[in-house]
Every structure is written in structure tokens, then in C-alpha cells.
């Protein structure tokens, strides 16, 4: 999953999400287990968007 963030004319953010073919094939594996925690107590750097591009339109 990729994120591309832009800033709209009125200052609001908008994020485009795009995906590889990873969603197509179900799997029994837990290869994606252990995603970063969400809470502030356990916040991790991954909370920041990846592949972010700021652009005013």
C-alpha cells in the first residue's frame, strides 16, 4: 500500500491510497502480523505516512 498526500487549496489534506497486487491472493500466513501499535503510549515512527508528496493544487 502506498500513500500520496496532497494539500487542497483550502488547506485540507487529501491522501491517495494505491495498492500492489498483494490483495489478490488470500494466504494463511501471518507474514503481516505485528503491525505497529496505534496508541500514543506505544506510538511508533510508522505512524507517519510513507511515500508522502506534498503538493498544493
Amino acid at each position: 500500500m502506498q500513500r500520496r498526500q496532497i494539500t487542497l487549496e483550502d488547506g485540507r489534506y487529501l491522501i491517495f491510497y494505491t495498492f500492489e497486487e498483494e490483495t489478490a491472493a488470500p494466504s494463511n500466513s501471518d507474514e503481516e502480523a505485528g503491525a505497529p501499535a496505534d496508541s500514543k503510549r506505544r506510538a511508533e515512527p510508522d505512524a507517519e505516512p510513507q511515500a508522502t508528496e506534498e503538493r498544493r493544487v
Partner: protein, 339 residues
């Protein structure tokens, strides 16, 4: 009364049921009118609501607080999630792969919004259908990031904590185990989730989807569990549409742990659907008892309504990589649709 009410008078002027040619959630076509999304296509999009009830930097309250009436700025975040560029689609009509993408976006937004210091609860939901009061038909959901734990979740937390203290067990783990063992109220299930009409359903076709593993939030899920969540969501909402052969209106809400830094290991992730229809043409109204006393009157039996829905559950087919793990309507050893 111990509950906050958001006053957002600017929302009175928000877009209301525009014609399909002027949908603000469609892509902006070359030479066309500018929509909220300034590109000719997209997959899934998240953006800050133009008409938010809560904002990261809200204006000062329009009225002053008194000792009797406390007032606080409406701090928070309101996002819109657009599921697909296809205006006439619905989440039920989307392939399971697209719902899987949505689950991943939900997870990402939950994680990102949780990082705000002022956010204590991230609430993901969808209002679908004019019967619910939607103002835009384009398939979309919303996220409200609240600066407090909302009262319905607070009630669930209290009950979950009390059950844990009394029994040493998780309340939802016990409910899922009981429902899957009994089977009469189960609508669908797969390796990671069970969908059922709860014993205490308030709406005739109220369905809850709970994880079979004890987890508290989307961010706790494995990749396989994310896919299973997508599959069982597809099963339930597709069955809704088949039930009366119409695009079934509903409210869908995700209940996760708060993100205020507290410990909520006694809580259990689940999704709840509140459909307003009790027949193909009749609505379940929230009338005097429901609105004034908080006491719901349900004119139906959960066991009967679950059987109706279960009859419309079909295996979920992934387009590539084989059939995958089918979500089934099996509940009591009968064939799906055997009721």
C-alpha cells in the same frame, strides 16, 4: 447529562443529494467541474471533511461556558473515505479485494489519527442509504477522531471491565464462543471472524462481526485476519442486499479500543451494523422508548432474522490466487441457505 454535543452550524449548508453529474466524491474529469478529488481517477482516497463537526484547530466556541453549561472547542478530526471512483457502486457491490484494500486503509487511518495528542478515540463508520440520512450517494465512509471516549463505547468498556473482573474472561470472547457453539444466531463465519445477530439485538437485522482471537484494534490484526475481515464483511453486506433485493441501508460502526494511552486489554474489537429496515418497506423507528428511555423494543427474534440472512450468504470468491478461504453461512451444520 455527562455527554458532549457538537454544535456545528456550518454543516447546515453542506452538499445535499447532488445529481450524479455533480457528485463531489467522483474524480475530477478533464474539462469537468472540480470535485473534492482533483485527479481523473483514484483507488481509495481519504481527506478532511469540508464540513467537519470537529477540527484540529477549531474556532473558539460561539457561546461562553457557565457553571451549569460547560463548553469546549470542537477539537478533533473528521475524515471522509471514498471507497471507489465508481459513483453507482456500493461497498456490497465491490469485489472482496477492494474491501480488503479498505481494511488496510482503515488500519492506516486508525494508526495515523491515534498519533494526535488530542485524540482519545478513533471512530470509523459508514452511513448508507437515504433512510439513514446520507447526503451523498457515492460509496464512502467517515472517521471521527474524538477528543474523548464516546458514551456508547464507554458503556461497552464498563461492561467488559465488569465481566473481566467477575469472571476473569473477556465478555466478547465469551459471546463469540457462545454464539458459534449455539449457531442459531450466526450469519456467517470464517477462520478469524464470526458474524451473528446478537441475543440482545436492538434492530431486527442488527449484525455484529467479532474476531475469534482476542484483539482490540485493526492494528492488532495479522494479514490473514485483515483478509478474513474483508471476506466476512463482503458476506454480510452482500446478504443484506439479497435479503429484500434492494440496496440495503445500514449504519456500520467499528468498535476498537480507545487511543488515550490507557490499558484496554479487556476490550474486544468488533463491527456493528444497525439497519433501519424491519421489512422491505417498513422502517424501525427510534421512537419514545428508544429515544427517550434508551430502551429498545425489537419486534423480531434474532434467531429468525439470522436464519433469513444466513440463507443469502454465499462463498466469497477472490479473483486471483485461488478460491481462498470461503466465508460460509454455516451455523448449525446445515447447508447455507437451508433455512
Amino acid at each position: 447529562m455527562g455527554e458532549w454535543v457538537a454544535t456545528a452550524t456550518h454543516r447546515q449548508t453542506r452538499t445535499f443529494l447532488p445529481p450524479a453529474d455533480f457528485c463531489p466524491l467522483c474524480p475530477t474529469k478533464p474539462g469537468g467541474f472540480p470535485t473534492e478529488i482533483p485527479e481523473p481517477t483514484y483507488d481509495i482516497v481519504a481527506f478532511e471533511n469540508r464540513f467537519p463537526s470537529l477540527q484540529p484547530e477549531p474556532p473558539a466556541p460561539a457561546v461562553e461556558a457557565t457553571e451549569l453549561y460547560p463548553v469546549r472547542p470542537g477539537v478533533g478530526v473528521c475524515e471522509v473515505l471514498v471507497y471507489t471512483p465508481i459513483h453507482n457502486s456500493t461497498l456490497a457491490g465491490e469485489p472482496v479485494e477492494q474491501i480488503h484494500k479498505l481494511v488496510q486503509v482503515w488500519t492506516d487511518r486508525f494508526r495515523a489519527l491515534s498519533a494526535h495528542e488530542f485524540v482519545e478515540y478513533v471512530f470509523i463508520f459508514e452511513n448508507k442509504g437515504e433512510a439513514i440520512g446520507v447526503t451523498l450517494h457515492h460509496p464512502h465512509g467517515q472517521i471521527y477522531a474524538y477528543p474523548f471516549i464516546p458514551p456508547r463505547v464507554e458503556r461497552e468498556l464498563t461492561q467488559s471491565r465488569a465481566h473481566k473482573d467477575a469472571t476473569g474472561r473477556c465478555l466478547l470472547c465469551d459471546i463469540v464462543a457462545d454464539e458459534t457453539a449455539d449457531g442459531r444466531r450466526v450469519v456467517a463465519k470464517n477462520d478469524s471472524f464470526a458474524a451473528y445477530i446478537p441475543f440482545f439485538a436492538r434492530y431486527p437485522y442488527e449484525v455484529h462481526i467479532a474476531s475469534t482471537r482476542h484483539l482490540q484494534a485493526l492494528t492488532d490484526m495479522s494479514g490473514a485476519e485483515q483478509r478474513d475481515l474483508a471476506a466476512i464483511l463482503k458476506s454480510v453486506i452482500a446478504a443484506y442486499d439479497k435479503l429484500f433485493d434492494l440496496s440495503f441501508p445500514y449504519m456500520m460502526v467499528l468498535h476498537q479500543r480507545p487511543v488515550d494511552g490507557g490499558v484496554y486489554d479487556y476490550y474486544h474489537f468488533h463491527v456493528e451494523f444497525y439497519p433501519p429496515l424491519r421489512t422491505a418497506t417498513k422502517l424501525k423507528y427510534l421512537a419514545g422508548s428508544e429515544s427517550g428511555a434508551g430502551m429498545f423494543i425489537n419486534d423480531t427474534l434474532a434467531e429468525e432474522k439470522a436464519a433469513e440472512l444466513r440463507a443469502h450468504v454465499r462463498p466469497v470468491v477472490w479473483q486471483a490466487g485461488g478460491a481462498g478461504k470461503a466465508t460460509t453461512g454455516e451455523a448449525t451444520g446445515e447447508e447455507a441457505g437451508g433455512d
